[in-house]
């Protein structure tokens, strides 16, 4: 019912192409997250699925039905906006029931749906309140509830957690995920926060510069990034990228790893480095203890490198530090194209 298919979708503003040849298939019941830096086109793509932006090329299907020319209300979708877009002059119950009122749903049925959604989201005590009398988390839930009562085939979320503080964001992440799993509704979710994407998604679609860089499960993207962009975007702190030519660093130091001849970029995640007797020797430039781990910023033959160490180390800026790693954790990318080199 709620599968979403995009075939050759493009978006142009005048002569500027902001999305090109987007091909994507989101399975029914799947929680798919569009992630990427600001301006990559993820929100535009979501709005095109919603029908709030016109499509310049290609086809969008929802539940097997081509929806290119359908009005947003006819696409069987519900959307949660970044600002929540709650009607400030309506109570929580009226906000949740507005779509049903527009659809002239029977009053008893409307009330039943609002009650059911409110109970599921813990909003029952707040049904008579206005949005301004609610906390950020409660408003977020009302926006969810408004989407739920419509019983749509697809939920669309446009950065719904970006207005919440860090603690509430973690809580709401889990609530949204649980609610979606309970309802089993296909969900397309946009965020620029890769942690949000990693923790919530069944599949992540990484976008950059108006095109899809890679689609995969969170661990796929983490373990086997298709290119440098995905490798650096997924994971925090970002993956270290070290330029290597014929197995040697720019200063001639040989690296203890198996690398093909020629120029490559070696990727190594900060959390895969550990203090050890053998490995690479770096010059420490900064130390940031966070309690759970210690972040070391350093240089390796003039190239910046970060290590996230679980073990507590006593080093200071200016010290030399030898960091070991498992060669299985290395990623190799073509120095020119940035594409992954299979090993």
């Amino acid at each position: 019912m709620g599968a979403v298919t995009l075939s050759g979708v493009a978006k142009r503003y005048g002569g500027t192409e902001v999305l090109r040849d987007i091909n994507l298939s989101i399975e029914e019941g799947e929680f798919a997250i569009l992630v990427g830096p600001s301006g990559c086109g993820k929100s535009t793509l979501l709005r095109m699925i919603a029908g709030l932006e016109e499509i310049s090329g290609g086809d969008i299907s929802i539940g097997g039905r081509r929806v290119n020319d359908l009005e947003p209300k006819d696409r069987d979708i519900a959307m949660v906006f970044q600002s929540y877009a709650l009607y400030p002059h309506m109570t929580v119950a009226d906000n949740m029931g507005f779509a049903l009122k527009m659809a002239r749903v029977d009053a008893a049925e409307k009330q039943a749906r609002i009650t059911r959604a409110a109970e599921m989201l813990g909003l029952t005590p707040y049904l008579d309140r206005y949005p301004r009398a609610l906390s950020g988390g409660q408003r977020q839930r009302v926006a969810m509830g408004r989407a739920m009562v419509r019983d749509p085939a697809v939920f669309l979320f446009d950065e719904p957690l970006s207005n919440l503080d860090a603690k509430l964001r973690v809580q709401m992440r889990s609530e949204i995920r649980q609610t979606q799993a309970r309802l089993g509704v296909t969900t397309v979710y946009v965020t620029h926060d890769q942690i949000e994407a990693m923790t919530m998604a069944d599949r992540i679609i990484v976008m950059n510069g108006g095109r899809i860089e890679q689609v995969g499960t969170p661990l796929d993207l983490y373990d086997r990034p298709a290119n440098r962009f995905v490798a650096e975007f997924i994971g925090s702190p970002a993956m270290n990228m070290i330029a290597v030519t014929d197995g040697r660093l720019p200063d001639g130091t040989a690296l203890p790893l198996i690398a093909p001849a020629g120029a490559v970029t070696v990727g190594l995640r900060p959390e895969h480095l550990h203090p050890g007797p053998a490995g690479i020797t770096v010059q420490v430039t900064g130390v940031e203890p966070t309690g759970a781990e210690t972040l070391i910023t350093a240089t390796l033959a003039g190239q910046p490198i970060t290590a996230a160490l679980r073990d507590r180390v006593t080093v200071r800026p200016g010290d030399s530090l030898t960091l070991g790693f498992d060669p299985a954790h290395l990623h190799l990318f073509d120095a020119g194209s940035g594409q992954r080199i299979s090993r």
């Binding site: 877009a85 009607y87 507005f98």
Partner: protein, 300 residues
């Protein structure tokens, strides 16, 4: 304690210092003339010589003066022409320019129309009056167009049956730009995602207007309704320029009525009584309106 008290006194003195320029202006330009007007309304005075005290005689005469009540009745027509119709029309126009013209044809066209509607507001009333006198006179453009369509024209400003409606039409034309600009700036602060959410919720353009635009513009509507109603209660210049209150007093309004008594018949005391009554009614309506608005705001 003494130090705190001293500091409060100093603070209070500073507030008064800041208020002084405005207060002096208010007393000189509004307070004092109004007090003098009230005082004169209890006198019989020809504008020169000493006024003679007549108590409430002017007010007694006012209550029985059919011309005064007729002018008050015309005021209601002007409330419709200056407050009710322009507010409704400009709400619809603002929503159309904002929700349709700007999105379909671009912001430039929306701004162009907004400026066009606002143009009558920057025209001097005298120029607008001359312009509309040309349009509405028996050999004017309107009659030419009507005759071209096979209809019969009329002496729009000279016929007592039509004059008030003709002046009302001009007032709608003048007033619409003011409320349109205020409503459009009000719409500019409304989160666009509310309209998108409403579209997703199945609301068409009329429903978005009714359920989103009007409630979101409630503060602006209140301000416009109050200011235009007050303007209608004291309207003078357009009537002076277009009809001089005629024909047969069919467009006379309290301001013009008091003006004729002040300067034409030189019954200054009676003119002052008309002005005082008009001011009292305006203040009363204004206060009632504000109170109603405050209550509505509190209830929400």
């Amino acid at each position: 304690m003494a130090a705190i008290s001293q500091s409060r006194r100093t603070g209070s003195a500073v507030y008064w210092l800041y208020l002084m320029p405005g207060l002096i202006g208010f007393v000189l330009v509004v307070g004092l003339p109004f007090a003098m007007n009230v005082a004169i309304s209890f006198t019989k005075w020809r504008g020169i010589g000493m006024p003679s005290f007549v108590g409430l005689a002017n007010y007694d005469r006012l209550l029985g003066d059919a011309a005064f009540w007729s002018s008050m009745q015309h005021t209601l027509f002007f409330v419709v022409a200056m407050a009710v119709i322009p507010t409704i029309l400009s709400l619809i126009l603002a929503a159309t320019l904002f929700d349709y013209v700007a999105t379909q044809f671009g912001q430039g066209w929306s701004s162009f129309f907004r400026a066009g509607y606002y143009l009558p507001q920057i025209l001097p009333v005298s120029a607008a009056g001359v312009l509309w006198s040309w349009i509405l006179n028996p050999h004017g453009v309107l009659n030419l167009v009507l005759r071209g369509l096979g209809l019969e024209g009329s002496n729009w400003l000279g016929d007592p049956s039509y004059a008030i409606y003709a002046v009302m039409g001009v007032m709608v034309w003048i007033q619409i730009g003011y409320s349109l600009v205020v409503f459009m700036s009000g719409l500019g602060r409304v989160d666009p995602s509310l309209y998108e959410a409403a579209r997703l919720d199945g609301a068409g353009a009329p429903q978005r207007f009714w359920y989103i635009t009007i409630p979101m513009l409630r503060p602006e509507i209140a301000v416009i309704a109050l200011t235009t109603t007050i303007a209608a209660l004291k309207v003078f210049a357009p009537v002076f320029v277009l009809t001089n209150g005629g024909p047969d007093n069919s467009t006379i309004v309290p301001s013009y009525f008091s003006y004729t008594h002040f300067f034409a018949t030189v019954r200054v005391g009676y003119g002052a009584a008309i002005s005082t009554a008009q001011t009292a009614i305006t203040i009363l309506l204004g206060l009632m309106f504000l109170r109603l608005q405050t209550r509505k705001g509190d209830a929400r």
